[in-house]
C-alpha cells in the first residue's frame, strides 16, 4: 500500500469510485437540463422539483398501489413527464419567443409552488424508501465495499446518458430535433409537427429528472427540499459543461463528481464550494463553458 498526499491509495480509489457514483446523479440531472436548454432554449429551474417529484412518485406508488422499485423506475418518470408536457402546453410554449429570463422565472416559480405543496402535505423530515431486495448487499473490491445499488446507479446512468446522446446526435430523430431548434419554419415545411416534438422533448427532459429522483429515493432522504439542495450544483455542472451541450453535461457531471469526492477527503469543509470555484474559473477562461459553442 502506498500513499498519495498522506492518504492511503486504497482509500483514494474508494473515493474516486464514490465520486463517479455521485457524478452519475449530476450527469443524469444535467443531461435533462442540457436537453431542455439545447432544444427549447428554456432554463428549466423546476428541474430540482421534478427530480423530487420522481422520488415522491416512487414513494406514493409503493404506498398506495404496491408498485415496487422496478416498475416505479418506468412509471414514475412517465407520470412526471406527462405533468411536464402539460406545463409545456399550458405555459412554457408562450415564452419561447421571449427572453430566457421569462422561462427561468416561470419555472423557478413552479419549483417553489411544487416544493411548498409537497412540504404542506408530507412535512420536511422525509419519507421512508428502502433499497429493492434484489440490489441489497454489495461486493468487496479489496479497497472498498461497493454496495450493489451504487454499482447499478453507475451502469444505469451511463446507459441513459449515452443512449440520449446517441439519439440526439446520431439518429434521424435527433437530426430533426436539432434542425427544428435551428429553423422551425423550414422543418415544418417538411411535414414535421414541430410543436408536438418540442412538447415531447420537454416531457423527456422532465422524465430524466424524475428518473434520477427514483434512482435517488433508496439512498438519499426523500424530502421536499431534496431537489433544491442539488439543483444549484447541477446548474453549475451545466454551465461548466457549456449550456445546452449534451456531451458536455455528461462528461462534466462525472468529472465534477470525482473532483467533489476528492475534496471530501482532502478538505471536507470545502466540498460544497469546490464546484462553484471551478465554475468561476471556467467562466473566466472559457465563457461558453468547456464544451459550449460560442454563438
Amino acid at each position: 500500500m502506498f500513499e498519495i498526499f498522506g492518504i492511503p491509495s486504497t482509500a483514494l480509489f474508494g473515493q474516486l469510485l464514490i465520486g463517479l457514483i455521485n457524478g452519475s446523479f449530476y450527469a443524469l440531472l444535467s443531461l435533462g437540463l442540457a436537453v431542455i436548454f439545447g432544444m427549447l432554449n428554456i432554463i428549466n429551474f423546476s428541474h430540482g422539483a421534478q427530480y423530487m417529484l420522481g422520488a415522491f412518485a416512487a414513494y406514493l406508488l409503493l404506498q398506495y398501489s404496491g408498485l415496487g422499485y422496478w416498475p416505479a423506475l418506468i412509471v414514475a418518470p412517465v407520470l412526471v413527464g406527462i405533468t411536464g408536457m402539460i406545463v409545456e402546453r399550458l405555459m412554457l410554449q408562450w415564452l419561447y419567443k421571449l427572453d430566457h429570463l421569462y422561462g427561468l422565472l416561470l419555472t423557478f416559480g413552479l419549483a417553489l409552488i411544487i416544493e411548498g405543496v409537497a412540504r404542506n402535505y408530507f412535512g420536511s423530515a422525509g419519507l421512508p424508501y428502502t433499497v429493492p431486495e434484489s440490489l441489497r448487499g454489495g461486493q468487496n473490491l479489496g479497497f472498498m465495499f461497493l454496495p450493489n445499488y451504487r454499482a447499478w446507479v453507475i451502469v444505469a446512468s451511463l446507459t441513459i446518458c449515452f443512449g440520449t446522446w446517441f439519439v440526439i446526435e446520431r439518429t434521424r430523430l435527433g437530426a430533426n430535433l436539432r434542425a427544428a431548434t435551428e429553423n422551425p419554419t423550414l422543418v415544418r415545411a417538411f411535414g414535421i409537427n414541430v410543436p408536438r416534438m418540442i412538447t415531447l422533448t420537454y416531457g423527456f427532459g422532465v422524465a430524466l429528472a424524475a428518473f434520477a429522483g427514483v434512482m435517488a429515493a433508496p439512498v438519499y432522504n426523500v424530502s421536499p427540499q431534496m431537489g433544491s439542495e442539488l439543483i444549484i450544483v447541477v446548474f453549475a455542472v451545466v454551465v461548466i459543461g457549456g449550456m445546452g451541450s449534451i456531451l458536455g453535461a455528461i462528461i462534466t457531471g462525472f468529472g465534477l463528481g470525482v473532483i467533489e469526492g476528492l475534496t471530501k477527503v482532502f478538505f471536507p469543509e470545502a466540498s460544497n464550494t469546490v464546484i462553484f470555484v471551478i465554475m468561476a474559473i471556467v467562466l473566466l477562461v472559457r465563457p461558453a463553458g468547456l464544451f459550449g459553442r460560442r454563438t
Partner: protein, 403 residues
C-alpha cells in the same frame, strides 16, 4: 327595585374595574424554521403547541390576554436577528420561543438581553447558551448538546463502544455537539479516533462513511441533525456499516427522523431525548390534541414542540405572579425562583444559568416486528435523573454563576 338594579350595576362595574386592573397583555413570537430542514422538528408544530399552551392557560386565567405570532428565520442568523429586532421594537413582542438552529439562537439570545426581553430556547441545542454565552434573559428549555452527549455517549462507552469517529455538521451546533460528546467519551475511558466536518445539508455521505469505515472506530457519532442524519444513516445501511460491526450513535435524532428512515433502517439506533409522545398517558392525550390542532393525524410531536408548550406555560405563570411582562430580567428571575410543573415534563426547576432541568431518557429504536402501531418508535433503555442529565453548574463557565 331600582335600587337593586343600581347596586347590581355598581357591583358589575366594580368587578370589571378590578378585572381590568389585573388584565395582563402578553405577546409571544414563535421564531422557527418554517420551511426547511428543521421545520418538522419545530416549525408549524411548535406554533400548534404554543396555541395549546395559551388555550389551556387562558382558560384557567381569563384575565391574561395572549397574542401569538410566528416567523421563519430560514436558518440564517441575519434573518433571525432582523426578525427578532423587528418583533421586539415594532411589534412589541415580550417572549420569543423555540428557534431551532444554534447559530440563530445564539444571535437572538444576544439581542434579547440588550432589549431586556425573554428568550426561551426549545429547538436549538448548543450548550453554550447556558455556558459562556449565557445571560439573564435566556432560558434553555428542552435539551442541549451536553445532555445529548452525556446521555448517548456515556451509555455507549459503558456498553463497549469505546472508540469513536465523528461526522460533524460544520457550524456552531455540530461543533458543540462533537466537543461535548468527545469530552463525555474520554471521561468514561473511550477514545476519539478521528472526525470529519461536513457542510450543512450534505446530500451524499458515502465519502465520509468510507473514511469512518477506514478508521475502524466501533462507534460512528453523528454530530448533525435532520436531513444530514437521515442521509448518513441511510447510506450507512447501504455501505454495510452496521453489518461490518460498527454502530451509529445518533447524537440528535427526533421522532420525525426515525419516521423518515423507517424502522427497518433505523432499528437498534441509540439516542437520548427528554420527551417522547408515547411515554405516558398525559403525553398521549396531549399528542391527540396536538395532532388535531396541527391538522396532521399521522405526525407525532417532537420534544422541541412539547418544550414550547411547557415553556410558555411556565412563562405565563411568572407573568401572572408579577402582573406584568414588561421587565424581562424580572420575569426570568421569577421563573427561576418557582419550580416548574406542567402536564408534559412534570416537575422541574430552572437553574441560575438558565438551564431547565428535567429527566432524560435513553431510547433505542424498535425493530419493525416490535412496533405495534404508527409512531411506536422507541424502547426506553434508561431514565437519567434530572440532576445527572445536564451539565453541572460549575462546569459551564456561565458568567452569571462565576460572577
Amino acid at each position: 327595585m331600582k335600587r337593586t338594579i343600581g347596586l347590581t350595576a355598581l357591583a358589575v362595574m366594580l368587578a370589571c374595574g378590578t378585572a381590568s386592573a389585573q388584565q395582563v397583555n402578553v405577546k409571544i413570537g414563535v421564531l422557527s424554521d418554517m420551511s426547511s430542514l428543521y421545520s418538522d422538528i419545530g416549525g408549524a408544530g411548535s406554533t400548534a403547541a404554543a396555541k395549546l399552551a395559551i388555550a389551556d392557560f387562558t382558560k384557567a386565567n381569563p384575565n391574561v390576554k395572549v397574542e401569538l405570532i410566528s416567523g421563519d428565520h430560514q436558518n440564517k442568523p441575519d434573518i433571525g436577528s432582523q426578525l427578532a429586532n423587528q418583533w421586539y421594537d415594532v411589534d412589541k413582542v415580550d417572549l420569543i420561543i423555540d428557534t431551532p438552529n444554534s447559530g440563530v439562537a445564539l444571535a437572538v439570545s444576544q439581542i434579547t438581553t440588550t432589549k431586556n426581553k425573554i428568550f426561551i430556547v426549545s429547538g436549538a441545542a448548543a450548550s453554550d447558551l447556558t455556558g459562556p454565552k449565557c445571560n439573564a434573559n435566556t432560558i434553555h428549555w428542552t435539551y442541549d448538546t451536553w445532555m445529548l452527549a452525556n446521555g448517548t455517549g456515556k451509555a455507549l462507552v459503558k456498553t463497549g463502544g469505546d472508540t469513536w469517529f465523528f461526522l460533524t455538521a460544520d457550524y456552531a451546533f455540530g461543533h458543540a455537539l462533537e466537543r461535548d460528546t468527545a469530552a463525555a467519551v474520554e471521561k468514561n475511558g473511550g477514545k476519539v479516533l478521528g472526525k470529519v466536518r461536513h457542510p450543512l445539508n450534505t446530500n451524499d455521505f458515502s465519502s465520509f462513511l468510507l473514511q469512518a469505515q477506514a478508521s475502524k472506530a466501533k462507534i460512528i457519532g453523528l454530530a448533525n441533525a435532520g436531513g444530514d442524519t437521515i442521509n448518513a444513516i441511510k447510506s450507512g445501511a447501504e455501505f454495510g456499516i452496521v453489518k461490518g460491526g460498527q454502530k451509529f450513535a445518533g447524537l440528535l435524532v427526533f421522532a420525525s427522523d426515525v419516521n423518515a428512515l423507517g424502522l427497518a433502517t433505523a432499528q437498534g439506533l441509540t439516542l437520548t431525548e427528554t420527551w417522547y409522545w408515547d411515554l405516558n398517558d398525559a403525553n398521549r392525550a396531549w399528542t391527540k390534541r396536538w395532532q388535531a390542532e396541527r391538522g396532521a393525524a399521522g405526525k407525532f410531536p417532537t420534544m422541541v414542540q412539547a418544550g414550547v408548550y411547557s415553556g410558555i406555560t411556565h412563562y405565563l405563570k411568572a407573568v401572572v405572579a408579577l402582573k406584568s411582562a414588561a421587565d424581562g430580567k424580572a420575569v426570568v428571575a421569577q421563573m427561576k425562583n418557582t419550580p416548574t410543573d406542567d402536564a408534559l415534563f412534570g416537575k422541574g426547576t430552572i437553574r441560575a444559568d438558565g438551564r431547565k432541568l428535567h429527566p432524560a431518557y435513553l431510547l433505542e429504536v424498535k425493530a419493525p416486528s416490535e412496533s405495534k402501531y404508527p409512531g411506536d418508535f422507541y424502547k426506553v433503555r434508561a431514565t437519567i435523573p434530572a440532576d445527572e442529565a445536564f451539565r453541572p453548574l460549575k462546569e459551564g463557565n456561565c458568567p452569571l454563576v462565576s460572577g
